[in-house]
Symmetry: C2
Subunit: 338 residues, 2 copies
Amino acid sequence: MPFRLLDAASPAETDQAERFLALVAEPLAATDRLFRERLASDVPFIHHCGEYIFDGGGKRMRPVLLLLCARLLEREGDEEVTYAAVVELIHTATLIHDDIIDHAELRRGRRTINELWGNNRTVLLGDWLYTSAMKMALSHGSVEVIDRLCEATLRMTEGELLTQQRLGAIDLTVDEYFEIVDRKTAQLFAAACSVPARRRPVRLDAIAPLERYGRALGVCFQLADDLLDFTASAASVGKPVLSDLKEGKLTLPLLLALPRLTPSERRKVETVLGDRSFERVAASEILELVRREGTLQEVEQRARALADEARVALALFPDSEARSALEFAPDFVLHRRS
Amino acid sequence: MPFRLLDAASPAETDQAERFLALVAEPLAATDRLFRERLASDVPFIHHCGEYIFDGGGKRMRPVLLLLCARLLEREGDEEVTYAAVVELIHTATLIHDDIIDHAELRRGRRTINELWGNNRTVLLGDWLYTSAMKMALSHGSVEVIDRLCEATLRMTEGELLTQQRLGAIDLTVDEYFEIVDRKTAQLFAAACSVPARRRPVRLDAIAPLERYGRALGVCFQLADDLLDFTASAASVGKPVLSDLKEGKLTLPLLLALPRLTPSERRKVETVLGDRSFERVAASEILELVRREGTLQEVEQRARALADEARVALALFPDSEARSALEFAPDFVLHRRS
């Protein structure tokens, strides 16, 4: 039985989430249209993959946040819709290249692009998507926005490089872990949230708070993701449980437990990290160690603190439906089941 | 003995090339500094690879052309130097990803990045370079320039995708070949040459001629490259002869010969395309077929026609040293030995 830590969203919370999503339903639909349009190409392979990617859905977390921040600033037009599609394109390109690197076979419960069409074409598809995103972002001429999106993309790439360099390393530090999370996840959240303040005319007062909000929410999101890897079942996340460890990646719950383990327990973790499989040490053994040390709870506490930090960053904005929705987003992130 | 078709550059031509290069020696040195600077990063792997790439040198063909076109328009400043470094960065990123795809072990006589550091990190390094190039291009705020560079990058990626899709196909058409050459090579040449006319204030009259010049020169460059694969020795180009065919790529000399071959000769070509090796059919046999059909001369004629086309595109510009240098560039491209 998968052991769940965070409560799943209550019916009241689900209602609330839907009400908040309805706030940006229209621009989100426009974003989806633009996203799909942009994935069309006169090169049949790109067009074909584009349809496959679009049909795969996705949570559209970053576009939703961008559009809610736009609404917070009372800026909701074509320009914001474009940027919402751009951040989703960048995110998609990153996933596609990461899946090559991780030899991932499944993503959102479906076969990955690399699994279906091989690595060579998948490298090129990712390149195409990155460049296409940048070209699309240019259409409104806001250099400051594109600069921040490039910055976030560079940081994500560096985050994945650092991940690769420290793959399988039992001596990864908590600082290194957070450095990677910041680059790989939080930067694009921060960029997405601050973009509506960065486009012209610039809302200088709003950039820093929205950056802080996005960054805290991004780290919170990653911690929830790490927890899910320990607590969710394969069916609900579309990938196997403890898949991070199996890929050689230490995440926070185990990282916090490590110093408290006996040498022989620590060797078990090292075995899985080295083998990249649970052939010699069962996943249940690792789960038991983490459960015994209570580090899932500790990670949950850190995630809740980040959720609060995100909310505090919104304090200077006047009360509005958009602000309420953004204040609710960390709860949504923490209670998601996939 | 390697059989050479195009004359090597005469001493007089070499002198002339050096004199013309001297025209842009200063901005080219500044470009190199900027290129190297941009390859620096706080992620040690990127920094390390950056130094390796920089030390590898390269012909800097695209920056030289861009800077000569800038001089033609009497626009030589920091902005042009930036774009010159950007096109070289884009070109470098493309080579790095192409080398993964081709499983290339050598580039410019040295081990490739993928050979040294593996595919995973090389995918990420390429992504980083692409994004870094775009971010750098933004620094002067000329949206039209970045848009053209994104366009060229998209076309290059598509060109490589088309190459991959038609890999090993004996029924590749001459039209498909030229379509691929246009996307994979000519587009970045055209973009590089027209960038100095595209930056603000836009020189609307100069964009189309410089695009035409760059495009014709780019195709000419590719034909010369294809010829070199048939005529050069491994030592001078830093890669083995007939390497294209060995990678499953039909280039123009063989493509033009194919319809004139006997069925059994055609099967020999198919064997190499299928085997991706000269184990069953010797490279010398293929070379002999191409030599017999005289298609190296035909390709050379086409290349010379393109060289003329490039020169004609410059006719409307007033006479200047820069124009003379650009008129000479096709000869330089045709007579290069590496």
